[in-house]
């Protein structure tokens, strides 16, 4: 598996914690949500950095108790058409101010790269063959029709059109870059 970096963050190196195993002291682990919910206190006392693996079906409010304690989140897409994962990332950023890495894992296709970045994801787990396609797709659209509400600093073309210092149209591409920079 390869990792596609959407926002220029330092990607987390973690171990996916197998069931029935306990993490070593200081180990960076990814824990399935159910297990984290059951054994939360133990984890946060003993382990180094903890990330949570959630399915797209997870209700965002279920993550509230952990939002300040976890340092990264992996959202697992069972199918690339399952758009709940996008709202989940938006909610983490917007409702809980989550600043850590959000990674997309599971069934994702390259053409979703820019959507993922704009919804608050930092990285995508992909096959080696698809890495280039992801990186191409990430640069596809020069500007956006939406402003984000999650602190990425992406301004819609509607806002760019009317901002004083941007009264020509030359900076459409900058809007996209700005969004990527701020996310990092």
């Amino acid at each position: 598996m390869a990792l596609v970096n959407l926002t220029g963050i330092q990607p987390t190196q973690y171990t996916e914690l197998a069931s029935d195993t306990s993490p070593a002291e200081g180990e960076v682990v990814l824990v399935p949500f159910d297990r984290l919910a059951e054994e939360s206190e133990a984890f946060f006392q003993t382990v180094g950095r903890v990330g949570v693996l959630v399915g797209t079906e997870t209700t965002f409010s279920a993550l509230e108790p952990f939002a300040n304690k976890i340092s990264f989140v992996a959202i697992d897409f069972p199918a690339f058409g399952d758009g709940r994962g996008f709202s989940l990332a938006v909610r983490l950023r917007k409702d809980y101010g989550f600043k850590g890495e959000i990674r997309a894992v599971g069934n994702i296709i390259p053409d979703q790269a820019q959507f993922l970045m704009r919804a608050g994801f930092d990285s995508v787990e992909a096959t080696e063959e698809r890495k280039t396609a992801f990186e191409t797709a990430l640069k596809r659209f020069p500007s956006y029709y939406q402003t984000d509400a999650i602190g990425l600093g992406q301004r819609s073309v509607a806002h760019v059109r009317h901002s004083a210092k941007n009264d020509d149209n030359t900076d459409a591409a900058d809007t996209a870059k700005e969004g990527q920079r701020k996310a990092s």
């Binding site: 709940r84 993922l116 970045m117 059109r161």
Partner: protein, 551 residues
């Protein structure tokens, strides 16, 4: 009309390049059909029974004459010389080659058109009143807000993989010609007592196999909050709409399951959290878009034109056409003209390349180069001087576009049906053709009066049978095409669901049954009473007895 700036051009051109790349990857085998499917669908490319079908967006049904000419050119160059206008105010090509579709999209992009989000589980083309900006009964022009929604919904990062397709309709007139109550979200433009512009917001309407009429979830939403409120509505739906069963995935099922009040409560709660974020566009942007839709500079003319009256007196078909196919315009001495794409015996909604070119030329000559598409699958010239009607009609009639049946029994909505569609159980087009041949008498049609027949070839109800005064639903009965008869639906401001009258019929039987329904109406109606009010007053039984005999 809205005109693209460099941003719009750049985005649409980038989309063409993206799709070209996707098609190439598919043809090289780098994308599986399963992976390619949602990508092509979001560019309007379907795989139907016999071939690919490309659905091109006509945003809120508004076209320039140049765009219409380009549609004609595409029909000629890439298809079999015709195109099909749809109930979503879009246009479909039935025979494009996969390898040529990127070129078609580029041809469209060059005239500020696209096929973005005309299919797939995303926000589709926003539809509106075909007479927007023209009709005398309009309170406020809905098109600037439809354009705002078009831009906001285009490539929305969070809402491009919804549980199911999502349709928004908006109207600004007293008479609802956009069927807003039958949409996932319906918006009615309103002005508050203080002069502020805003919307009544409806949610959870839809047809398909579970017809539901939308419910009001907010009486007045200021225009400055439109996009943040839509964002909240979509987020609640995206998170909670069902994904386990595609037939229960539309927002109507969610709103019904949780209750409209609870849905509204959750939307309001989410909106409260985001309304102060810069999700909504600046006031200057609303003003910029509105400036594209300022009322056209039409001279005030006399409403009574003796030359037109004289021509009507000696030509009954012209007189009938003026009576049925034209309507009151905001500016005296003008009308909006409906060009019927329902010639008796023809295919509802189809137009040839030559007809499209002609309509473009006539729009240049008589209608400030503007054309509209209605959800009833007709074309509209929105701004025509009454004095020009005889010349316009003669030109249309010579090209087979002069049918005087707008709003009458033969102005039938029909889905493509089993002739094209892989979902259909029965054919819709031949039935529409035979029905129009049976009722091929304009005098009789005018005596019957306004009557909307809508035909769907399967339960997915693309032909809007639930909203037909008379609805016809094609079903499969042990391998035979069978047609159910429904009565009493409405897509207008008095929206209602049509009810099945009784057992289904074969193709000949359904036409005979409609004859009987019409006969009951003609016999029972009171002075000036139209079909739908008569049905509502009389109830189903008298029709049932006439159609099925006394039991």
């Amino acid at each position: 009309m809205y005109a693209y700036d460099t941003y719009d051009h750049a985005i649409v051109n980038a989309r063409v390049e993206e799709f070209r790349d996707q098609v190439e990857r598919r043809m090289k085998g780098e994308l599986t059909e399963e992976e390619f499917r949602p990508l092509r669908l979001m560019n309007g490319l379907y795989l139907q029974l016999h071939a690919y079908m490309l659905r091109v967006a006509i945003p809120y049904g508004t076209l320039s004459s140049n765009q219409m000419r380009r549609l004609a050119h595409i029909a000629r160059r890439y298809d079999k010389g015709y195109a099909h206008f749809t109930t979503r105010q879009n246009v479909q090509y039935n025979w494009p080659k996969l390898s040529e579709t990127p070129d078609i999209l580029q041809e469209l992009a060059d005239v500020e058109m696209h096929a973005i989000q005309t299919s797939g589980n995303c926000i589709r083309n926003t539809t509106t009143d075909q007479f927007a900006g023209a009709a005398a009964d309009e309170v406020l022009d809905p098109r600037p807000y439809a354009e705002l929604i078009r831009q906001w919904s285009t490539f929305h990062p969070e809402f491009s993989f919804l549980p199911r397709k999502f349709k928004i309709a908006i109207t600004g007139a007293d008479e609802d010609r956009a069927a807003v109550k039958w949409h996932d979200i319906g918006l009615v433009v309103k002005q508050s007592d203080t002069g502020e512009i805003g919307f009544e917001v409806l949610a959870g309407g839809g047809m398909g196999r579970t017809p539901v009429i939308g419910k009001v979830i907010r009486d007045f939403l200021p225009v400055s909050d439109l996009l943040s409120y839509l964002e909240a509505m979509l987020r609640v739906y995206n998170e909670q709409g069902r994904r386990d069963n595609k037939y229960k995935a539309r927002i109507k099922i969610l709103v019904d399951a949780m209750g409209a009040d609870e849905y509204a409560r959750q939307v309001e709660a989410e909106w409260a959290k985001i309304k102060d974020q810069p999700l909504d566009v600046p006031e200057e942007e609303v003003a910029r878009i509105k400036a594209f839709f300022t009322p056209p500079p039409l001279p005030v003319l006399d409403n009574d034109v003796p030359t037109v009256n004289a021509f009507a007196d000696k030509n009954f078909l012209f007189k009938a056409w003026v009576s049925n196919n034209t309507g009151a315009h905001k500016v005296p001495g003008h009308v909006h003209v409906t060009i019927s794409l329902k010639p008796h015996g023809g295919i509802p909604g189809d137009a040839t390349d030559a007809q499209m070119d002609l309509v473009a030329d006539l729009a240049d000559k008589y209608s400030l180069s503007e054309v509209r598409v209605s959800h009833e699958q007709n074309l509209i010239l929105p701004h025509v001087a009454k004095k020009d009607l005889p010349a316009l009609w003669e030109a249309l009639d010579a090209a087979g576009l002069g049918s005087a049946n707008a709003g009458l029994l033969t102005d039938i909505i029909a889905c493509p049906g089993l002739d094209y569609c892989s979902l259909a159980n029965a054919r819709s087009i031949p039935l529409a053709q035979k029905l129009t041949e049976r009722f091929d008498d304009v005098k009789r049609l005018m005596d019957i009066g306004p009557l909307k027949i809508k035909i769907s070839g399967c339960i997915n109800s693309c032909g809007h049978h639930h909203a037909g005064h008379i609805g016809i639903l094609g079903v499969d009965r042990k391998g035979e095409e069978n047609y159910q008869l429904l009565l009493g639906g409405s897509g207008a401001e008095d929206a209602s669901k049509a009810a099945i009258l009784g057992p289904g019929f074969d193709e000949g039987g359904i036409i005979d049954a409609i004859e009987k329904v019409v006969a009951v109406y003609l016999g029972e109606r009171e002075d000036g009473e139209e079909f739908l009010p008569a049905y509502r007053r009389l109830g189903a039984d008298v029709f049932k007895e006439a159609v099925y005999g006394a039991r």
